[in-house]
Symmetry: C2
Subunit: 375 residues, 2 copies
């Protein structure tokens, strides 16, 4: 719906900026995937990958709906990457993925159809991959800080699923989470229950006595694929000495809808959602009390125009409804800043500004507002 | 790929602005569609709609991949629209559609998977629908003007396909087009061959002797659905006298990829693409000649930083390649403004600015460029 979509688009923009900052190039692949390619990669049969949605062309040719794009993007890049001069490349997209989950649940938290940012890295060596992998990890840390989840999100050692033997997950603490992790407050590192062993604790330089068991939601994950996909589909480059070498890949995902759902889950209070400023669907929620008063309405419309002209995004609640209902709805929607205009405003010359997160009230004059004090 | 995606996103933004200007609200629906809904609308069976891609959940429940969203959006809005006070509503989305075409062809011009803007209007009466339909038509005219197709695009009377008995298409003249239309230069109206009759000519107030037969590409289409869908799926509102009335709908589509393809088709010259300014992937193509000259490189990098700081989008070609190759590639890519920096630039203090469409050359000084003369 409109407000949720605006939040999704803002999260997407934060992710885009951080991917661009580490030299990412944005593209978009298709959903429909050819059976041939995925057979070659050994991932077509349902006993290998059990989340395929499959469909057919009119001529009975089978197609799959992409659940991920590692192989497709490698296949596409094969035509462009042949020499060591063409590397590295970092390619990403925002694409709807389809996964035939037996038990889809919790709305946008685990859907069969969801928007994902997936980045793929292509490097000459394992060492170059490791260096970029660290950069990508830091970009993810910045993303979760910017969308308001920084303080509760842990870089979590985890299992590697189909793409390799290890991965790092970004896990946000939440009682509603499906995952169990062991967190270390000091380092912001964690270990997923599935790989929680004494060996892993030592490997990460952590101490068992500092770890606390928590429920969490996986909001992102990154995998160092290494040369596995390259070897499966024979994806190589010619090095500076003329020798064929496998291309080292990495895969970096974030589910945009799940990030939004986690923010709602983690940051709401008893009155409703509390959007962090950078991803709030609007900057200002302009609420009029007493819409039967013409002076209130025309004053509010002046303020609305002035804010809009300043480039400030405003949601204007001009409904003819009871003040209590309008203020409760405003809390529920969770826009960062509420601006209230009623009869009292006109009498006092003071406009009430309420910060949704803290409830803090500030009073501004009309001239403060039209001269940009709100931005 | 990256440059094409940037153009797609810019076309999308033009369309978004024009939809918002006629009170459109943006949402996003799912691709996966339930069989039940489409059966109720009489459009599930392949002998009714022959372009379905169908798939299955693990429990064998059939699903379809949406080829359009009229019924889905009406079903969703059923929960929100019940009173005359809730109307009108104008809802749109940018969504990937799937159509199981027997003969997909011409790349992005007729694909099985493509990005479409679809808007749906919901009005109380046929008269309100007609009024909005005219507004939407004018919004489409503005869109095609802004993306550079205005002078060759005709509002074309056409058949109504599954949604009704008439529609208006937006047809752009092109020898590569699949459609045949009869155009009237003076009014910018046209008639699709499929409904080209004496009766239709008279109905539109045109004269047969003024009409010319042309090949064209359909870049948009709009349908006044009326109360047909509402009656099929029992989608009504309560009017001010407490009576149940059907909701009058309209449907308004534009294929974003096809618009891009048509621009390439219609506006290219012998040297490559010529992007109209508003949708050019970048504003400036900065091309260095002689990258082995350190002074040229550092001068160009200063210009690049300055333009970027001014918020101007720059594609910087700093490749170590022959001047002829770089200039030819620049023509091919078709970015609106080319800025050339080489040894001559440093000697003369003049930067060559070339307009891709006209080939017109302007000379600017470094201080012109850094003080914003280019924007």
């Amino acid at each position: 719906m409109p407000l949720g979509l605006r939040v999704m688009n803002k999260i997407e923009q934060v992710v885009r900026e951080e991917m661009d900052a580490i030299q990412g190039q944005e593209i978009e692949m298709t959903t429909l995937q050819s059976k041939d390619l995925w057979e070659k990669a050994g991932k077509w049969d349902d006993d290998k990958v059990d989340i395929w949605f499959k469909t057919k062309l009119k001529n009975e040719t089978e197609l799959g709906l992409a659940f991920s794009h590692e192989e497709a993007i490698a296949e596409m890049l094969r035509g462009y990457l042949s020499s060591y001069k063409d590397l590295p490349q970092y390619i990403y997209q925002f694409q709807t993925k389809f996964r035939n989950e037996i038990r889809a649940k919790s709305g946008i938290m685990r859907g069969r159809e969801f928007l994902m940012k997936d980045m793929y890295s292509f490097n000459k060596t394992q060492e170059d991959l490791d260096t970029f992998y660290e950069e990508a990890k830091q970009a993810y840390v910045r993303i979760f800080n910017r969308v308001g989840l920084g303080s509760i999100t842990y870089v979590t050692a985890a299992d590697g699923s189909v793409f390799g033997d290890r991965s790092d997950e970004f896990q946000a603490l939440s009682e509603a989470g499906e995952d169990t992790i062991y967190i270390d407050e000091a380092t912001k590192l964690a270990i997923n229950e599935e790989v929680y062993t004494d060996e892993k604790i030592t490997e990460l330089g952590l101490k068992k006595e500092n770890l606390t068991k928590k429920k969490s939601i996986e909001v992102g994950n990154i995998f160092p694929i290494g040369d596995k996909v390259a070897k499966q589909i024979d994806f190589t480059y010619t090095d500076s000495e003329g020798k064929e070498q496998p291309i080292y890949m990495g895969s970096y995902g974030i589910g945009i809808g799940r990030v939004m759902g986690t923010i709602v889950e983690a940051l709401s209070d008893g009155k409703g959602i509390v959007w962090p400023e950078e991803i709030s669907p609007f900057k200002v929620h302009l609420v009029t009390l007493g819409t039967n008063n013409e002076d209130v309405v025309s004053f509010a419309e002046g303020i609305y125009s002035s804010l809009t002209e300043q480039g400030i995004e405003v949601l204007y609640d001009d409904r003819d409804a009871m003040p209590g209902e309008k203020l409760a709805d405003s809390d529920l929607l969770g826009i960062t800043t509420r601006m209230v205009i009623g009869r009292k405003t006109l009498e006092s010359g003071q406009i009430e500004i309420v910060d949704r997160a803290t409830g803090k009230v500030t009073m501004l004059t009309e001239s403060d507002v039209v001269t940009g004090k709100i931005s």
